[in-house]
Amino acid sequence: MTLSKYNELMENIVVTEDMKSRILRNIELELDGDDAEKGNDKVTQVDFTEGKKSESKVISSAMRGRWASLAAAAMVLVLSGIVVKSIIGDPSHSGSTAVMSEDSHDAAPAHEVMEGAAAEEAMDSTDSFANDKSADSAKP
């Protein structure tokens, strides 16, 4: 039967001694390497300094991002505080108040100037009103 020949040809495929030693060596490396790693984990549990070192490396690498974002947020807060302060503490306002606070003896003159300015404004407004009235009366 033809297909019995299939078995015959498959008999040519065998695990040779070379193949066997290669495979066993690789399996030992693969599996005993895994076992060694598991063993090292146990060692780090006992050896606190090594564990801490490796732990600190893990912590520093993990926390680095967090610290960076916190620092960035802090910078934003500081900058915004500076900006707000600069807006609130406007040079023109801060100048007049300074004058008023520092030069208290000049407060009265400043007050008088403001009153005078207010009086002038009032006179200007009445003049303009009078002009308007005359203009209205001039209309046909």
Binding site: Y6, E8, N12, V14, I23, L24, I27, E28
Partner: protein, 160 residues
Amino acid sequence: MGKNRDRAEALLEKYGNAILRTAYSYLHNMEDAEDILQDTLIQYLKSDSEYNDEEHEKAWLLRVAINLSKNKIKYNKVRETDELMDELVSEEKEELSFVWEAVKSLPEKYSEVIHLYYQEGYSTADMAAILNKKESTVRSDLKRARDKLKEILKEEYDFE
């Protein structure tokens, strides 16, 4: 440390050829088949499973070898040398080389049932369990595989 080596050695003695031949039926070269044999044993040793009997154990190993072989075909480039063909040709085993060529030319779903049926002697039910297919599918694949093989051998190689 020696425990893994001892277990691996025992597995190689018992199932090494079967696993290697199964892998070779998919990959058609010795280097890739050897990789599959190695990886299959590693998986078995890592799984640390216990089996009721040798038949279950062997079926598990062949299933893993088949899956690994299919993955290798799918994701990696398979080497193109075919040592078996070279050997059959060099030894002037013409008929065997014709059969091997014909089986190689079959679609994978046919060549795998041919191998498991004729080389390993599995029933269609057992093959269905290993290949994770319905038994009816395996049965029809096997019939079609045999018919196709006969057709190829008759037409190409004048086999009767």
